[in-house]
Symmetry: C2
Subunit: 161 residues, 2 copies
């Protein structure tokens, strides 16, 4: 049926499933570019933000082995995604899977948990020895990761100039 | 005079000065490969470590604009180094200088301070809006950076698999 006749995605999100994300990169980055902006502490105009966002994505994709997963409802509509990248860790010097991104449109419904579990399975299969991620100091996700077995290894410090 | 007749570097380190490091990359990485190993939480054999160390360095050098400084004594002998890299920040989407490395053979003599100041000057000149770095949770350098005006922005979490 045409998408205008589908039930609202809020209603169908509970019946989500996780699929490979490689065919959904446009949706992934369309959602990410919107969400990511809220984490920036700098005021950027639309053009400057889009240009720099593009540079960041290209630089991230330039090294390592990448994997995407998306959560979709039964009509195939986007609900969230995970982006992982396998690289040699810069401190431990073993293969590590970095979770570069994990996002869900509807928190609290198990979508994030299902996404991180799929990313962890992939990491294990790829021979990663650990899984790493960055989380902002005030982000409530810090607790969420902690409950999932992640512990704090390093801090990211910065100074404006 | 031949280097065997020079006074020990411990004695000349106090009279250090900072120079561009691009002509000293061999010394920088020879020192770094030795020091970096102590931060790894994994047991790696020599061959595996050297191979993975090389991959990490090549991947870091593959993106961004890089700058090296070295501290030398009056005979030009290596005392420490700083490695900075200008990139678009993955969270703030502004140009940021990442301090990838700052090391000194003789802590407490102002070498690290002089190195970080030079890296910060470079960052400012290059148009960076901030300076970023990663420091391990138990590393006393965390306090040192804090005294130099760096504040904690994010945490690096990880889980072994």
């Amino acid at each position: 049926m045409p998408s205008s006749e589908l039930p609202p995605v809020e209603e169908t999100a509970a019946g989500f499933h996780i699929i490979d994300g490689e065919d959904h990169l446009d949706e992934i980055f369309d959602n990410d570019i919107r969400i990511s902006r809220s984490f920036s502490r700098f005021q950027l105009n639309e053009e400057e933000y889009r240009e720099n966002y593009g540079k960041v994505i290209r630089e991230l994709l330039a090294t390592g082995e990448h994997k995407f997963f998306v959560a979709v409802d039964k009509y195939g509509r986007y609900l969230g995604h995970a982006w992982a990248c396998l690289k040699i860790d810069t401190v431990d010097f073993v293969p590590s899977a970095y979770i570069l991104d994990i996002e869900t449109l509807f928190p609290g419904r198990g979508i994030g948990t299902a996404l991180i579990e799929r990313a962890e399975e992939w990491a294990k299969r790829m021979g990663a020895r650990k899984i790493s991620l960055r989380v902002e100091v005030n982000n409530p996700a810090r607790n969420w990761y902690s409950k999932k077995g992640y512990s704090e290894r390093a801090v990211f410090m910065e100074k404006p100039i």
